[in-house]
Symmetry: C4
Subunit: 220 residues, 4 copies
């Protein structure tokens, strides 16, 4: 019965993620001038669109990988309550909002002296990372919404990875006030970083190995 | 076999809810003027968009929480018939229509002496609440489309909560003729109120506790 | 394994139906004039949009009920092959195309001396009905894609109902050349007619009752 | 647990495919001129749109059949890892991008002396075929992501069919530099060719029959 609740939530979230990621394409607009262009002019016009393509790709992979992580969390989250449903709805709200800053960024990207679009863009992803974090903290707090026998290592690995998420996105957000392209590239790299499943930074990984041995010993 | 019917209906409805909630973002339009704006002007332009964002957020959470409630109902509804399918289709029709009044409201919100947009907006949500109510009345009437052993308390709690829904939305609708912002805020509060699962008003909750004890005693 | 094939096909079709039905809302366009209208003018402007709303509603319910029928068929169809997948893809192609004639019709509806938009609109639904028919004939021919023990009465009832479908849509198509509003109303009525599950015309229903008794007797 | 991973991936991919294929309809734009056209002029205007319809149909069936093939692959792929998830995301990125070259092609199709739009269009489908190929190679390499007992004939048949895919799309891409209509027609034919389930070219099919007999003998 409880499981059913989660599966619904996931199906609806999947739908919203899938539509939002596809609607991003509407941010790419090739101006159709009054007169059709000849081959050389059209090639030039298309090449001029690279900031749009970069903004589109960054948003696409950020949402796509946010979806991956959403599912990684819900492998462990087995129950729902009103609070979780609400946090999830806020997360979806931010996801659905992404095309707006993406379109703005695509337009203002080439003006390196202007930062408002990049700040809004990075701020949106910062809010998304915070919301994802909140979702996990809320669900995993004393393991209340996890299954009966949660995998303690997996849960800890996620908690550790998520501790750094908002921090890293905060750096990208800070960069947006200074250097637009650097901020976008950091955002793109962060998306790719979070594609890896629960990969903790090196020092933490060693601790984890140590702790794992410790637990294994206790089991014997 | 009957269960399969409901699961199809729910999957299709989920799809429509997910697409409709995501399409709302198309109501936010940042005018791209002929000349790109400088940072100060763009910030101003974005801040000027707050009515759009409020209308977008109100519609997003209203549809999102309508979806939550749709699923709460279908936890109890186990069978379908032509009547239910048709009522559900009418409900989806209203859901799909929401972006239209949302866009209108976003445009006319700041003109406090104009009410047509707010009336259409509140009217749409009133119709949605009535349709949701009808869906539940139709399905729960003599328990005909509920499962073999419906939970009488849950069913009663929903029926009670739903009794007040259209009434409260009627108040928001009435307010729209007098005061646009008040009407929108009531709509937003109503959405949040219905996020709580079957939360009956206080006096009724006491009765329910009493009745529950009574039933528990009978069980012993 | 074969069942899995059908469930995929259905999930994808459900998705396309859900998106197509929701995208219809984009056909409703409330012109935002340079200057915002006052209350009286906006009300007038909205009332002038009724042909849009009628076209939107007719398309919404036609697609919605086509979805209902799609699922009724796939309750009996248990296997797929390349032919079925292809016919289904053509059906989805027509479904996805519907917003185009809907938008055209909304624009040209009030000009009762013009028929091209209505012809295209009715023609699209005629093609849809034919395609649906072909899907069923292809799948039910010698019961090759139905389950191991198809329900002969249900199969026959569907076959009978579908025999008349294209014929009735042909009448609506014919009317479009003469009288646009009459054609749209017939289309809307047809959608509602097909909402009823396998409801055969009266004389056939009597035969069916007779045959059912006959079979019941044989069972004894 | 592993199976669950694939089913999620498939559900999300299905969603993106379904939305992308439906959004294609937005590439069809019937210009609504300032004045409504009379019947003859509208008929003419609609007939003039045939390149749009051809581009729309080619993209629709290409994506639709790409979806078919995606599911054929995932009948055999039972496990996922980060690499597969990432390749799949890149594939979806290309799918979502399709409406852009489709809209461009629709505009530039009739100018047989211009090739940039056709090159971009064919290039997109070439990239899609390569990505699909990579997905299969990655998953089937030493059978690492296939189930415990993969069907060797089916796997080999797919591998063989996919060997030729990118090659054939490369031909269509080459043609785009010389002759736009020929390139589009080849693209459409390729989509239809790949609709057939694992149909290898004739000589290979004979070998396969021979090998099958051989295996059957060994079984006895």
């Amino acid at each position: 019965m409880d499981d059913k609740d989660t599966s619904r939530l996931e199906a609806f979230s999947d739908g919203v993620f899938a539509v939002a990621i596809t609607l991003l394409v509407l941010t790419i607009k090739v101006d159709s001038p009054a007169k059709l262009l000849d081959d050389a002019a059209l090639r030039l016009e298309l090449l001029r669109q690279w900031p749009m393509l970069l903004a589109f790709a960054t948003s696409f992979f950020s949402i796509g990988i946010m979806w991956l992580n959403h599912h990684r969390l819900f492998k462990h989250i087995k129950h729902t309550d009103t609070g979780l449903l609400f946090i999830n709805l806020v997360l979806l709200f931010i996801i659905v909002f992404v095309p707006i800053p993406t379109a703005l960024l695509a337009e203002y990207f080439i003006h390196s002296d202007q930062h408002v679009a990049a700040i809004l863009y990075s701020g949106t992803f910062l809010a998304m990372a915070c919301c994802m974090n909140l979702l996990w903290r809320y669900a995993s707090y004393r393991g209340r919404l996890l299954g009966k026998e949660p995998d303690p290592h997996a849960v800890m690995a996620i908690s550790r990875q998520y501790m750094f998420g908002p921090l890293l996105y905060l750096i990208a957000f800070g960069l947006a006030w200074i250097n637009t392209p650097a901020s976008i590239i950091v955002n793109l790299l962060l998306a790719l970083l979070f594609a890896a499943p629960g990969l903790p930074p090196l020092p933490l990984r060693l601790t984890s190995v140590f702790r794992k041995n410790h637990v294994d010993e206790q089991k014997q």
